[in-house]
Symmetry: none
Subunit: 190 residues, 4 copies
DNA sequence: GATGAATGAGCCTTCATTCAT
DNA sequence: TATGAATGAAGGCTCATTCAT
């Protein structure tokens, strides 16, 4: 008997992300996913109940993946600016190296696939960063603005950098990274 | 003989945007657009050759609309910071008041509807702003960073604010607007 | 605009019955029904929500059709034997002239299409005949057996005659009809 | 090497019959049969070449089974009425105790599984009963009607009783059996 | 022999597009 | 122009059958 193969699930996820990057959620067909993943259409239905479940579970994987990458090498005992820069870099790196996942998450947001509860879960992903920003405010290192908007400001900058690197095929040198971080830091610092 | 009715076209555009906001480009069907717009399916094909043309022309309208709004009340003779703030506000206002258009444009980006040339056109929309930023650099008012990334930084912040206002149902008081602008300004200023 | 055509529904019903007779409920595909009815597959979905609804509504039509045929030319004021013979003939005629409908109803009985409630409705179809048989018992013309089993006996004979006429390609002469009725009558008469 | 297991074949047959009773021939899938029988899908194909063969061989088993049950305890040397009653009872008992087999045979009749030759074989099953009825006519005990229709009359009554016992969940007391037989007998007797 | 994952043809259904009215 | 019924290609999904273990 053939054994269910977890790698196959990853192949399917990878195929889906590739197709979403190329032509959006709208462009996904189970046929196309199967072909891209190198399996038969029916095989998809061994691993996923239906198209919805495939999308939803991939969404979940992407979110969890993000969360674990964002706080890599970060410790709450780091000095504020060190920690902040670590997370800033992690998020940017993650967005860049896994750009299709970002697009996928974004497209899922405006689709019938993802429900409101799931969206809330997504928000929680940033909790440790919110904590750090609160600490920054307590230590008078950053502006006394609602943490939600500080986070918004930081994330917005990162997202747009990642998008434009990809869309306009730019290279991000260490110097550019520094410049971009500097703008972010100058923006939030007290 | 009745004349092609511009109101009807606008109804169709509005219906399309509404549906895209609710369920993404993936969720759009000509039947649904027709129903939402209050016309018969066949009528869509009087005003548009096919679905592609509907999407592309709406994309075009949205882009042109943005461009005209972004530089409203702005004059190249304004002092730098005044002009910058005007444009910053215009973009944010536009994103907020016409949020579905932003989603639509974003989703079109990763879809088979929009080709590479159109994407480049989109980029040109920001030319007057690039000019202004260049002037700011010449006047040593803002950081000496590639204008592309200064723009990126500014746009990123605005987009994320708009998204979060809508997704998390926030109100933007004048004070919050000021705080957000301050972060942006501190980020780019020399 | 093309107008919805009720004849089309009848064409679809006829096509379905023909296919069920030829190869059973198992052999029905929407494609085959459409082809047999001379319409496109999609057209079926204008008139019926889905395959289930097509089956269920056809079932309903067949049942109602039977009911109206069974008691044609019958009056409760007829002498018992006259009324009984009228109904007996009607049922047999109906079974013969609309044999595919009988098969269809039978096959639906053992299918996931028809629910228990619908089966009960079907039973009610025979109420006037039950009334007549009760009267026959009161008039001491027929055996004093639970009416349910008198009905069963009558119907069983008719059904089997109809089946065998069709399956074995027999002709039913007037004489044979008389002989068959005689057996039925001798069976139930007091 | 293990030997093909007859019990397994019977399990498969039983599973098939159960499923046909529940949802008709249309509702049968090899997957469902395997699951119901407690074997793997692939195992079915060790015992049967394909789905058709499974159906056809089960059909055959059911028919042979019927034939052997119908004439149990019957001897051509029995007095006519004794023999007739024996067979009548046997058929009814068989229909009742193996009701799913009857449904299965009936459904097979209107399916692409069974061909015309097989249907003729089925007819031969009743030959000893036809013989008996011919003898009854020779002995002037029963009506002088074409034996085919005498048989039809008898079988029809039995089938309908069996169906209604099952569908309407009736109990058949000895008294009711007697009453039903009486109707049959009065129907055919000279 | 037994298993059940894998396959892909084919079924149900949707939807872009056409066309008779 | 406007309508919406009709079309049929294509997508989601199932299931008879195969095959590696």
């Amino acid at each position: 008997m053939k054994i269910k193969d977890d790698n196959k699930i990853n192949d399917i996820y990878a195929a889906t992300l590739k197709l979403v990057k190329a032509s959006g959620l709208a462009g996904i067909t189970m046929q196309a996913v199967a072909k891209e993943a190198g399996v038969a259409t029916g095989t998809l239905y061994i691993y996923f109940q239906n198209k919805d479940e495939l999308i939803i579970r991939l969404f979940d994987v992407c979110v969890k993946n993000s969360a674990s990458n964002f706080f890599k090498d970060y410790s709450v005992r780091d000095p504020f600016k060190v920690g902040f820069r670590t997370i800033w870099s992690n998020i940017l790196q993650h967005r860049l190296s896994r750009f299709p996942e970002s697009i996928f998450i974004e497209q899922c947001f405006h689709s019938p696939f993802i429900d409101e509860d799931t969206k809330i879960t997504l928000k929680k992903m940033f909790d440790p960063l919110l904590e750090l920003l609160n600490r920054g405010k307590r230590e008078h290192l950053i502006k006394n603005i609602d943490t939600f908007w500080l986070l918004t400001f930081m994330i917005g900058g990162i997202n747009e950098v990642a998008k434009r690197v990809v869309y306009f095929n730019k290279k991000l040198s260490v110097e550019l990274m520094d410049q971009n971080f500097q703008m972010c830091w100058d923006g939030i610092k007290a």
